[in-house]
Amino acid sequence: MMNKKLMSLAGIVGGLLLVGAPAFAQDTLTVLCTPQEDWCVAMTAAFEEQTGIDTNYVRLSSGESLARIRAAADNPEFSVWWGGPADAFEAAAEEGLIEIYDSPNTEAIPENYRDEAGYWTGVYVGALGFCSNLDVLAELGVEAPTSWDDLLAPELEGFVAMAHPATSGTAFTAFWTVVTLNADALEAEEAGTGYDEDGAPTQAAVDNAFEYFAALNNNILQYTRSGSAPGSLAGQGEIAVAVIFSHDCTKLQLEGFDGILTTTFPEEGTGYEIGGMAIIANAPEAEAARLWYDWALTAEAQAIGPTVNSLQLPTNPDAPVSELAVDLTSITVVEYNFVAAGASRVAITERFDAEIATAPTE
């Protein structure tokens, strides 16, 4: 009796396994996807429909992505990496984790949105901004911030959030933006103190940026893992200001937080990201990865973002631009040195982790 019941249990379990078993067909592709999850879903579904290739993805923040492909470099789990700020791609290229691919479709992309050496090509562009909760701001009696120094206001103690630069490309972009602004300031005082001969910000500029973030730490409620997460903390009214990409704030406004959240930009200059894409070195599904690469550069593929409220600017000039997308010409954008940013990434995130993020606020 017992036996039969166990057998039937085994049967049910077996049946469930068949349903849940992952497919092991030849035509597969595993994408490492860094933007928001619903965009990953829409992209992989569209690609699968078009090519018939069974496409899986894992959504990881860019820091996590970098760590994960580094850890599995001998035997990569992923074949193509799509999205996330380009400095993570620069760091990956430096370490030999991604490989050069000369896609026939690259030509359509403006030169300033792609890597000279051909390691990565931009698939979208977005600007960093401040995403603030209007009610909370009013209650604290502060205006929506329009400069980086506004974030240091004592009224905002515990009411600011950003992600942790070690895991999030968004947060790293914010950090590097402050580095660049400091380098500009030093350079204005005395030529050669802000930038070195190669045009990379000097150590002094980096140190000043650390000083700024140490001061900002007193106002930070929490460092989140994912770059866009602070935006929803602001939406929930848990904090006043989130340092996130403006398109992530717009997405929240479209998904229930309209009239609650507002986007502002620092007047002295803000950073921007080029969302990169690259083929993983020794990719297990190299063929399919190249197909994805070609496809993701087309205007058609770049039109998918707005359908899931992801309003980054497309890099392909033929792709439609949503009127809700940020207009880069209307805001001040810093000269963002992606190569230098990528080269300093590891050192900066480790130092941030040791000196700032774990330090308890006063």
Binding site: L16, A67, F78, L221, R225, S228, I239, F257
Partner: protein, 573 residues
């Protein structure tokens, strides 16, 4: 003397090997436990003691930042241990000692947190009591800063107090009322009886509840991730070290630091508390417990417990309600889009995978737990205690540590010469897309509970029944199948239910093991919570709770309906 004892043990071992099946089963169990529990832990200890790891101990332990994190961890464990035990004690006391209405409802409400997915309670608490919380801000008009020790204490105590409640209720019911009566006859009043008779008798139970909760709080990852704020604890630190920096050596070192208090407490709980325990489990109390009728005590305690029940209902109500509104806490208009997202979007695969993997792990965990319980209680062999202890390590060790152990141990195949003993298990290229590693972790996390319930049940069954079966000519396997298993069926069922619920809701142990091919619901819930889509997260939670409840019904159906006596046994577990 020593030699004689040894030769006796050898003889007993020979007795086992006379029955080949028994020997094979024993070897299989030893093999399984060694590979799935012992080796990953050894790998982790080895990594931390490596030339790269050793210097990190000093660096971490002398660094004030890490000292603060360690202190935070211990403070949190202590506070949650005290508060959770207190709440559990109150619930148990009201159940056993007071004549008040709604006892059954209170019991059921106290059990709810067991099947609740991680993040659910913390997220609901933020919606209710956060800085813009519906209650804190909406009703009392304060911006309460729930992030940190206070918030964590609230959500963790509510999540874990059930352990203390079941533990203490079982003990209170087992207290012999004759003692109370004797004390009354000697002229003691109720307060004096409580102070000098009841409390001392319950002390081991209180101590062991505190320690169990302490370990749970140390190991918890989900709650500190969501509402830790700047209150960082070791579990989250280990997590960031792996996920953010992929520094397995650093994580292994931090894990060892986390392991020391967890393991110490586990050992104290297991060997010291059990020894000083004065309540006999097998003795049936004579008569019914005396009730306490003083109105102030009776209704005062009743009021407190009802208040706590109210909070629990409110939190779970928020989860259910929140899954049907646009943005919980902000926009309350009705919508089904969250369920659409989960059921028709990415959630569907996570649901299928998680349910299938849990359903596979459940019978394995139940059987392994029962078989090891049988071997440990009924058979005498060298290393018996070691087998029991090693199996218990599956749950005594915080989940993140198990996960790291698996990454270190199974990231490449284990070869003996050219023969692949164990294929690569972790990562997307691992066996069955990494699913096997997840199943194994589910099994080793749940088997200890089945082992404990099995051991408890077996020690109450007279071995002579089995001996009779053996002398009538049945072999060990037949006896186990036809006699032992039916007798311990309630314990087996409880083990299965626990295994399934635990597997479906676990996060810390598998968070490093999910792969592109296997999507796990708890991981998806974390993604949604992190991106602030609480509605989607709540919809996941509601569906997960429904799956667990359906599975429990199915298990009852398959393993068999309970009789009254069995229900009594199971309730005590």
């Amino acid at each position: 003397m020593q030699a004689m004892r040894q030769s006796q043990q050898v003889k007993r071992l020979q007795a086992i090997f006379r029955d080949p099946l028994l020997a094979v089963v024993l070897l299989l169990m030893v093999f399984f436990v060694t590979i799935t529990i012992v080796l990953p832990l050894v790998a982790m200890v080895g990594e931390s003691l490596s030339p790269e790891g050793l210097p990190l101990f000093e660096r971490y332990l002398s660094n004030p930042v890490y000292q603060t994190i360690l202190m935070n961890t211990l403070v949190l464990g202590t506070v949650v241990g005290i508060v959770g035990t207190l709440v559990g004690f109150l619930f148990a006391f009201v159940q056993v000692k007071l004549r008040v209405p709604f006892k059954r409802a209170m019991h059921i409400i106290a059990l709810i947190p067991v099947i609740s997915p991680p993040f659910a309670v913390a997220t609901a608490a933020i919606v209710l009591f956060g800085r813009s919380g519906t209650i804190s801000r909406g009703i009392f008009g304060v911006r309460y800063d729930i992030y940190g020790l206070d918030g964590l204490t609230l959500v963790m105590s509510l999540s874990f107090f059930t352990i203390a409640y079941l533990n203490l209720r079982g003990m209170m019911e087992a207290l012999d009322p004759a003692l109370d009566e004797a004390a009354t006859n000697l002229g003691a009043n109720k307060w004096r009886i409580f102070r000098t008779v009841t409390l001392p008798m319950l002390l081991p139970g209180i101590a062991s509840s505190f320690l169990l909760l302490f370990v749970e709080a140390l190991a918890d990852l989900g709650n500190p991730l969501v509402m830790g704020g700047n209150y960082e604890v070791l579990a989250t630190r280990v997590y960031v070290t792996i996920i953010g920096l992929y520094d397995t050596t650093g994580a292994a070192v931090l894990s060892i630091i986390l392991l020391v208090p967890s393991l110490t407490v586990f050992l104290v709980q297991r060997y010291w508390i059990n020894r000083i325990s004065v309540v006999t489990v097998t003795g049936k109390p004579s008569g019914t417990p005396q009730t306490i009728d003083h109105p102030l005590v009776r209704w005062g305690l009743f009021g407190i417990v009802i208040f706590i029940c109210g909070i629990i209902v409110l939190i779970y109500g928020t989860i259910i309600h929140g899954s049907f509104v646009r943005v919980p806490g902000v926009r309350w208009d009705f919508t089904l889009e969250h369920f659409d997202f989960v059921l028709n979007g990415i959630g569907a695969q996570a649901m299928r995978d998680t349910t299938a993997l849990s359903a596979l792990a459940t019978p394995i965990a139940g059987l392994i737990g029962m078989v090891i319980a049988y071997l440990v209680v009924r058979k005498d062999f060298l290393g018996r205690n070691l087998l029991d202890f090693s199996t218990m390590m599956g749950i005594a060790v915080p989940g993140t540590i198990i996960g790291i152990g698996y990454i270190l141990m199974f990231n490449s195949p284990i070869m003996i010469g050219d023969f692949t003993l164990i294929p690569k298990l972790t990562g997307g290229q691992g066996a069955f897309g990494g699913a096997l590693a997840i199943i194994l972790v589910y099994v080793i996390r749940s088997a200890p509970a089945a082992l404990r319930t099995g051991t408890a049940a077996l020690s109450q069954i007279d071995p002579s029944i089995e001996e009779a079966s053996l002398s009538l000519g049945a072999d060990n396997a037949r006896t186990f199948r036809r006699i032992t298993l039916p007798l311990i069926r309630p314990a087996f069922l409880a083990g299965l239910i626990y295994a399934f619920a635990r597997s479906m809701t676990t996060i810390s142990a598998i968070i490093f093991l999910t792969t592109p091919q296997t999507k796990i619901m708890t991981q998806q819930i974390l993604n949604e919570v992190e991106n602030g889509r609480y509605g989607n997260a709540f919809a996941y939670c509601v569906i997960l709770i429904i799956i667990v409840m359906v599975a429990i019904s199915v298990l009852y159906f398959i393993v068999g309906a309970r009789t009254g006596a069995e229900r009594r046994l199971e309730g005590g577990l």
